[in-house]
C-alpha cells in the first residue's frame, strides 16, 4: 500500500487531485475497500469491481469470470470497462515498481490544459447551446424517470446532431466571412464553389437524413397535412421543385451577399479615388471626406452582413435538416398503473 500512499501524499502536497482513475474512489473510501478484501494495489481495482458485481471469491476465479464476461460482451457500465481506460492502463498499473516521477509523467494528460471560464470556451458554449436550442427535443408524455430513460436516450440517438452541425457551419462561415474584412485578405465565401458547396452540402445532408428516416415515403413529406390524395399529383412535383431550389438558394444567398457588398466597395472606392487623383488638395478634402465617411459606413455594414449571413445560413440549416428530425419517442409498452 506504500505504492498507493505515495502518490496520494504527494498529490495532497502539490494541491492536485489524485492521479489515476480508481484512486479517487480509493482515497474516499479506502477503509471500506479494505474491509471488503481489497488488497491495496491499484491494478486490482477493476478486478475488485468485477468481484463486487459478480460476487466470486478468489482472484483466479475473478480472472476467469472477467475473461468469460468479456467474451460474452458483458461490460462494466460507463468507462470503467472500456478499452481506453481499462486495458490501456493495465500495463502501467501492473508494472510493480516504476519511479514516482515516471508514474506522474505517464498519468499526465497529453491534451492541452485549458483555463476554465476562458472567453473562447464561454463563447463556444453559448454558440453551441444556441444552435442546439434551435432543434429542441419534444417533451415526452410520460414523466421522465428511470423507466423512461432508455427511450429518451434512444430518441436522442436517433436525432441528427443539428446543434453540432449548425455550430460548425456557423463558426466556419463566420470565420470565412470575417476573413474578407481583414486587410490583404478576401472572404472564401465570396467564391462561388465554396459558398454554394456549403449550401448544397447542407441540402444533401437534409435530403439524406430524410431518405434514411422516411425511405420510399420520402415524397410524402411534400404533401401538406389534410390534403386530399388527388391533389398529391399536383403538389408533389411543385414541392419537389421548391425543395430542390433550396440547394441553390441556400448557398447563393451567402455567395451573393459576400460578393455584392465587396463589389460595391470596389466600385465606390474607385469613384472615391478619382477625386484625390484629379483634384487639388483643398478642393479635394471636403468631397473626399464625405466619400470616406460613406466607405467606412459600408465596411461597417459588411461586418453586419458577415455576421448576419453566417447566422442566416445556420438558421436555415437547422430548419431544413430539422424537418426530418422528428422522432417517435418509444415510450413504455406496458406499465403498472395504480388505481386510486
Amino acid at each position: 500500500s506504500l505504492q498507493t500512499a505515495v502518490p496520494r501524499v504527494f498529490g495532497s502536497i502539490l494541491g492536485r487531485a489524485p492521479v489515476a482513475l480508481g484512486q479517487s474512489v480509493l482515497s474516499s473510501s479506502s477503509s471500506s475497500f479494505k474491509s471488503q478484501g481489497f488488497n491495496g494495489t491499484l491494478q486490482s481495482i477493476d478486478e475488485h469491481v468485477y468481484a463486487q458485481a459478480f460476487s466470486t471469491s478468489s482472484s483466479a476465479q475473478d480472472e476467469k469470470q472477467i475473461s468469460s464476461n468479456a467474451a460474452a460482451g458483458i461490460k462494466l457500465p460507463g468507462m470503467a470497462g472500456s478499452m481506453l481506460l481499462g486495458k490501456a492502463r493495465t500495463g502501467l498499473r501492473s508494472a510493480s515498481m516504476i519511479p514516482f516521477a515516471a508514474q506522474q509523467t505517464m498519468n499526465m494528460s497529453t491534451a492541452p490544459q485549458v483555463q476554465s471560464g476562458a472567453t473562447v470556451n464561454s463563447l463556444l458554449i453559448g454558440i453551441y447551446r444556441f444552435w442546439r436550442s434551435q432543434a429542441p427535443m419534444e417533451k415526452p408524455h410520460a414523466p421522465v424517470d428511470d423507466r423512461m430513460l432508455p427511450a429518451i436516450i434512444d430518441a436522442s440517438d436517433k436525432r441528427a446532431a443539428i446543434g453540432t452541425w449548425a455550430s460548425a457551419l456557423f463558426c466556419t462561415i463566420l470565420a470565412s466571412n470575417l476573413l474578407g474584412l481583414v486587410p490583404t485578405n478576401e472572404a472564401p465565401t465570396s467564391g462561388l464553389g465554396f459558398a454554394t458547396g456549403l449550401g448544397v452540402s447542407v441540402w444533401a445532408t437534409a435530403t439524406a437524413l430524410g431518405l434514411y428516416k422516411l425511405g420510399f415515403s420520402f415524397p410524402g413529406h411534400f404533401i401538406p397535412g389534410g390534403t386530399p390524395w388527388p391533389m398529391a399529383f399536383i403538389f408533389v412535383p411543385l414541392e419537389t421543385i421548391s425543395y430542390s431550389f433550396r440547394a441553390v438558394s441556400l448557398g447563393v444567398r451567402l455567395w451573393v451577399n459576400m460578393l455584392a457588398g465587396h463589389t460595391l466597395l470596389h466600385i465606390l472606392t474607385g469613384m472615391a479615388l478619382a477625386l484625390p487623383f484629379s483634384l487639388s488638395f483643398f478642393a479635394m478634402v471636403p468631397a473626399t471626406f464625405a466619400v470616406a465617411c460613406l466607405l467606412s459606413a459600408l465596411v461597417g455594414l459588411e461586418y453586419l452582413v458577415a455576421v448576419l449571413q453566417s447566422g442566416v445560413f445556420s438558421i436555415l440549416s437547422t430548419v431544413y435538416v430539422g424537418e426530418f428530425n422528428s422522432v417517435k419517442l418509444a415510450g413504455p409498452l406496458a406499465k403498472v398503473v395504480k388505481k386510486l
Binding site: A274, P276, S296
Partner: protein, 128 residues
C-alpha cells in the same frame, strides 16, 4: 533553444535561436510590448489636444477613422503619382497632365504614350 532547429526551419530560425539568444528575443519582445502598451493605453491625441475642438471621444474616433482613410488614400495616390488610373475618372484630370498618357482612357494608347514619355525622359536625363 526554444524553437529548436526544426521549429521554423531554415537559416532564419537558426539565426534567431542560436545567434540572437532566446533571452534577448524575450527582452526585445517585452520592450516592444511595453512600448505598444504605453502607446495604446496611455497616449491619447484626444486627451492632449483634440478635446478642445471635438465634443466627445466617440466623435473623435469616428473622425480619426475617416481621417485614416483619407490620409491612406492620398498617400497611395501621391507615392506613385504619375500613373494611368485603373478606376474611372469622371472626365477629370490632374492639373498639368491633360492630354498626356495619364489621362488617356484607351489603355493600349496610353501604354504607347507612356513608353514615348519614358524614353523622352530618359533621353533628357542622358543629355544632362
Amino acid at each position: 533553444p526554444v524553437l529548436g532547429h526544426r521549429g521554423l526551419g531554415g537559416r532564419l530560425a537558426r539565426t534567431f535561436t542560436d545567434i540572437i539568444k532566446p533571452r534577448k528575443m524575450a527582452a526585445v519582445t517585452q520592450l516592444f510590448g511595453r512600448a505598444f502598451e504605453k502607446y495604446f493605453y496611455d497616449f491619447s491625441l484626444y486627451d492632449t489636444y483634440f478635446n478642445k475642438y471635438i465634443k466627445s471621444r466617440g466623435q473623435y474616433v469616428a473622425l480619426r477613422h475617416v481621417a485614416f482613410v483619407m490620409v491612406g488614400v492620398n498617400l497611395l495616390i501621391d507615392v506613385n503619382f504619375p500613373f494611368n488610373p485603373p478606376f474611372p475618372t469622371i472626365g477629370m484630370c490632374p492639373a498639368g497632365w491633360k492630354g498626356t498618357w495619364v489621362c488617356e482612357a484607351d489603355k493600349h494608347k496610353a501604354l504607347e504614350m507612356y513608353k514615348e514619355w519614358k524614353s523622352g525622359k530618359k533621353a533628357v536625363e542622358a543629355h544632362h
